[in-house]
Symmetry: C2
Subunit: 213 residues, 2 copies
Amino acid sequence: MARKPADQSVNRETILHAAADVLRRNGYEATTMKDIASEVNLTAASLYHHFRNKDALLLAVLEGGLDHAISQIEPVVQSNKTPTEKLHEMARLHVLTLTSNTAVGAAMIFEIRPLMNLKADGRNGAHSYSDDFITKRDAFFQRREYFELLFRQVVKDGMTTGEFREVDIPIYTKSIIGANNWVAVWYKEGGRLSGQEIAELIADGAIRAVKSD
Amino acid sequence: MARKPADQSVNRETILHAAADVLRRNGYEATTMKDIASEVNLTAASLYHHFRNKDALLLAVLEGGLDHAISQIEPVVQSNKTPTEKLHEMARLHVLTLTSNTAVGAAMIFEIRPLMNLKADGRNGAHSYSDDFITKRDAFFQRREYFELLFRQVVKDGMTTGEFREVDIPIYTKSIIGANNWVAVWYKEGGRLSGQEIAELIADGAIRAVKSD
DNA sequence: AAAATAATCGAATATAGATTTAATTATATC
DNA sequence: GATATAATTAAATCTATATTCGATTATTTT
């Protein structure tokens, strides 16, 4: 057996989905190429036809997740709603994103640290990361800051219009995002509340925390 | 060289502190015994004199962190303050715990998943976890639930007294804890605000989210 | 229907990293 | 001071991966 017939063949997207799933279960470091490969009925070796290496594969998963989240939030910021409405909708969509794709959601949280603090190898014989990987990693973090910036902007606008009280913008933005992100940690499908309901409740709380008296 | 003179000798506590630090930087999976050993000028082999294995060592760090957090929160719950005061103080102390010990704080977040989803080895030749480890792991999670329960109880009390609006207790508790926990992700010493200030601000937000109108 | 390209695999390579073992030296106890 | 125990190490072991390589078969292009 070598190349599989067309209908059993696997494409990049399929691999990314599977990888996200494995990542959610095991985390960055504990995820093996074999784990991912098995998920799509390939061997580890075959993955290297689709991705340069493990780093590249896993980073691609995170990029996809972040892009999706941003694509949800961005239009809301640009709409002509009030800051209150915007913030509510943004928080709601953020949580919804996390509940509907827990794989990516959890990755967005748990893989940050391994990515931030790349093992300072290089001296010892360990694999040092490719330039390409570092570049993409940095771009990922910039985009992640942009995501947060979108929230900050709306909080700021709300303070300007007087809808929001005078809060410390970075702190409150991070609090809101933190509360949202935490959902990815505990949410399990089939629980008492739907993703929709949870998103709504959490968004309500976010607004309450910043609303003027 | 074999046994070092008394003043260069290392004890269990010292190792745990160092381990917490390495853990914060690298995370559970990426932390090697050598990493920890170097931090206290030992060899990896020496660690096995103090701890049965890597699992036991790392779990000990988490246990210590959680115990400390609980020891901070528990007295507040048992005090005769109002629920509003209690919740504020609990959130404040929780955040303060995280900023003053970021190592443990981050561990409490990032090591949950690797611990929850232990690689389902056993079939293949991989090391399966010792019974002792599993037992301690489970105890850790139970204690972690207890920590959350303390918050839930106060939220519930606040609803009873009417100080808090009718919120969904689990969701709001998790939101508050999530916002708090997130601090461990972004907090860096020497930033614009002190841990004290940050803790205060976040606690304010937590109260606002649940306060009655 | 050749020729080129894509997708896959088994097997080989290389290595890091947990754990074990046996030896060595420092403290403690008697 | 002799004996036991504690702390440490270097070296060996063993295994799980990541990654590479060459061969093989399926599509696609010409």
